[in-house]
Symmetry: C2
Subunit: 534 residues, 2 copies
């Protein structure tokens, strides 16, 4: 890129601190362009155990200095990362498209989301309430025992391992929400890049490395390891220098990491966002009022990004009655007109085929419609919509399994009792959505109350795809949606996953962290004796 001094040529290396490293794992792999099905260069050498130790040792060394940076310094660092990503924007976008088949508008939106959330974490760092600063004033005269002065703030856990996600090569990968929130917390990050987009990971990794250098931070603050095998991830999670793990991916992959982390001499938390079918409930009034309209809108949510979103609605429950046929007919028409799109990788395309064939062959399931095949795309997913009824759904627990891709299952529900029985058997979810009308008021109120126990986010109207990055967002939910239901991986509270509270008892002013000193030099939000400080 002439004039910017930025090189965006890929060299096919892992980035360990300041060094470009040829992985020592003994094998190599390439990305695959899902449009053509062809491998694209350069080669990436798989990292081995020695590379893991090198990166985590650098991270542990960096932690001592990095955690002492001020929130302002870390905010500037995050903003510089965003700038460096934008400076490489064209090269990153081109490589994302080549490696994932995602279309340009989606890549642009995901880039904006990635840089936007880095900058939002910067603002949050400066505001300071994430520190959870609290002061309980002492009372030397209390009887029978003096009351100590106790102050609390949060400290980072230590180096964090982040696993890049296949379906968000930017927003949930090298500089995605897990990395941004860990870096914000004061934790160095070692990323295991997702093997389906190594080039994107290298480019974004270089952007972060440039920011590390510009801000004068220790080199071990950030590393990216390339690899396609499971051994690398297991070695990273079981490395004693790693203190927490962020993961977005499959249920099998997430649970394997959880088990590895629990078997360590010192277990660590794994924040795995895994599996969700995001049920949608369309109530009688809404169906009667706008069944067709909802059916068409539903299909747009199912097929966007080729259905490869954690929040894709994979189950829709229609209360049988007026408008239900209209919903199904409109959904079928809409889906029948959607062309197959590239899927992220050959493996995902194959798994999608397996999952949809299993649903298609289930007793009591009917195929409503199928989209338009596109021969020119090597790894494509043809959209498909299935239908069944409540009794069949209740009889076949397998029908609530995730079909990752542009597919969904409509379930016609006979009555409120059957609906209640269905909700009782649903697994934990990232989202649950209700469509109602004023005449559904009573049932809607009941549903919202039930669904808040099932999901991390409850929507009324609209569709669950599209997760707004903010202060109130929860992208999480009960198992198996996540392995840590009390947390969120999107939004500002994601930082809490990498922090731990510490109390300081009777520690003199000059030995206290700045944000706990009487005069509050960093002007952070604090609670004094339980109430907001005036």
């Amino acid at each position: 890129m002439a004039g910017t001094g930025i090189t965006t040529d890929l060299v096919g290396r892992s980035l360990i601190g300041e060094n470009d490293v040829v992985g020592t794992g003994g094998s190599a792999f390439r990305a695959v362009d899902p449009m053509s099905g062809e491998a694209i260069g350069p080669d990436y050498d798989e990292c081995g155990p020695d590379d893991v130790v090198r990166a985590t040792t650098l991270a542990a060394t960096a932690f001592a200095a990095y955690r002492r940076t001020t929130p302002d310094e870390r905010a500037a660092f995050l903003e510089t990362i965003a700038d460096e990503i934008e400076a490489r924007g064209d090269a990153i976008a081109a490589r994302v498209m080549a490696e994932t088949g995602l279309p340009a508008p989606r890549v642009a939106a995901e880039t904006a989301r990635t840089t936007g959330q880095l900058r939002m974490f910067a603002a949050t760092l400066r505001e300071g309430s994430w520190l959870q600063a609290r002061i309980d004033r002492g009372d030397a005269g209390r009887t029978p025992l003096p009351k100590p002065d106790v102050r609390q703030r949060s400290v980072p856990l230590g180096p964090v391992a982040v696993f890049g996600a296949s379906n968000f090569p930017l927003a949930f990968s090298v500089a995605g929400g897990d990395a941004a929130s860990a870096l914000a917390a004061g934790a160095p990050v070692v990323v295991k890049a997702h093997p389906s987009h190594p080039g994107t990971s290298e480019l974004v990794g270089r952007a972060i490395r440039a920011a590390v250098q510009k801000q004068g931070l220790p080199e071990g603050t950030f590393s990216v390891l390339q690899g396609a095998g499971h051994e690398l991830g297991a070695a990273l999670v079981t490395d004693p220098r790693i203190k927490a793990v962020g993961f977005t991916g499959s249920r099998r992959g997430g649970l394997a990491l959880v088990v590895s982390a629990q078997q360590r001499a010192v277990p660590i938390p794994v924040y795995a966002e895994m599996s969700s079918v995001n049920p949608v409930f369309v109530l009688p009034g809404a169906l009667a009022e706008r069944g067709s309209e909802l059916g068409a809108a539903f299909v747009a949510s199912v097929t966007g990004s080729a259905g490869q979103l954690c929040t894709k609605p994979g189950l829709v429950f229609l209360m049988d009655g007026p408008g239900a046929d209209d919903f199904v007919a409109a959904a079928g028409r809409a889906l029948g007109a959607v062309s197959a799109a590239a899927m992220l990788s050959p493996g995902i395309a194959e798994a999608f085929g397996t999952a949809t064939r299993a649903t298609a062959s289930s007793d009591g399931v009917r195929r409503v419609a199928e989209g338009v095949p596109v021969e020119a795309i090597a790894c494509s997913g043809v959209p498909v919509l299935f239908e069944t009824d409540g009794a069949a759904f209740l009889a076949r627990p397998g029908l609530q399994g995730e079909m990752f891709g542009p597919a969904s299952l409509v379930v016609r529900v006979g009555d409120d009792d059957e609906l209640a029985r269905i909700i009782d058997v649903l697994e934990g979810q990232l989202t649950a959505t209700v469509h109602g009308s004023p005449r559904d008021r009573e049932l809607a109120a009941d549903l919202v109350e039930r669904l808040e126990l099932l999901a991390g986010r409850v929507l009324y109207g609209g569709w669950p795809t599209g997760v707004e990055v903010g202060h109130a967002m929860v992208h999480g939910g009960p198992f198996p949606a996540t392995s840590a239901p009390a947390t969120t991986s999107v939004g500002m509270r994601a930082i809490e996953r990498f922090l731990r509270p510490v109390a300081y008892q009777d520690v003199p002013e000059e030995l206290l962290p700045a944000e706990l000193r009487d005069d509050n030099p960093r002007h952070v939000f604090r609670r004094v004796d339980g109430l907001p400080e005036i």
Copy 2:
């Protein structure tokens, strides 16, 4: 108790909802008076699997209604529990002393702490910031996509299992911090009483049942199961209706529950507070200035409550030099004058003997002093103080094992480098304490920074025993001090363990929980677009 209408006769039953139940586990046990070593009645029949199902089924049923109570209603319930405990105060105190051998002043203090924290949780419930209410305002005009209205609050996880602790028959048992914080969160509680104080558990359980009835709450809001075997605890933790676990006790017991909980079809969090030796660091200036005084004060902290506190200082590191001999001599003199006290149970007395004999027989360890045996007490622990040096400590990892009881180990540290190496090998702790003087400033600053990564609470001066219940307290810490280092089991943030955030997207005003409605009818603290609401 004439005139109060309160019966404090023990009937030897488990309390399952409204019913006094004879456990169906097939065996029976009695408490033991540690002063006499004699069993004291009545018999308690061990609960079996059927009793667990009965209690958890009632709890699950109660949850639907109990979680809908307002924070004000739950606050009144907690206050009523405190009142009911006080109304039975004399009977409870007498039984605690008989079952545990704890002296009257300690029992009075623990009773006050138990009722005090119930009332503090009530005040916290009314203030409302525990709900973590947040509103991100929507913007229908945003491009390219409208911004949704997203609101967040916390909901309870569901029924909680609480394990009574041997060493705090009141403050960490049936109505202790785990139960109080779970009930505050809106979670029904099933307590497994500790088998060393079944009568105390029955009396306190009756106090809570009376409060349930007075407040018109569902009977399944609270149950107490009696039992002495491990099967009962395992059955409770693996019951699918239980959604979280609070435990205070041994490392072995805590880890067993963690494993059981992780192997469930739907894993649940176990908040286990397990094992800590609470290192104390006495710096050169402090030793030179007041070595003798510190040595004597240290012994008071080691031997109070017969050393049976999670925060007892089990290791004290003296920087060798002027005053170190004075510290050891004064500590030896003080400890040599302390009489053996009753230990909580025959099992604990036996384990204490085993642990101290292991330390005594370690190479490089010298016994500094021993307290005064008291033949009249059947289960007693004779205080004992050991001494070693840094090199021996580093060579023998077993020396940082917990000796639960009135014993501690003094370690003479050669220099700052040796101190740094020692800190590197210390396990996670509930507390770490520094004693310094103005001339220790540099070393103290460095230590406080290191220790905040090792412990949940860092003290400067004073002693770690005595945990102030407040808003800023952290009674937690890295593994193996706890199984959940980001949480506290004492203080108001303990409630967070039993909550989970939920986001509500575009949910209309009339379907929102009250605390998220625009007009904030409950006047709870909220953040709007990330900042405190004006």
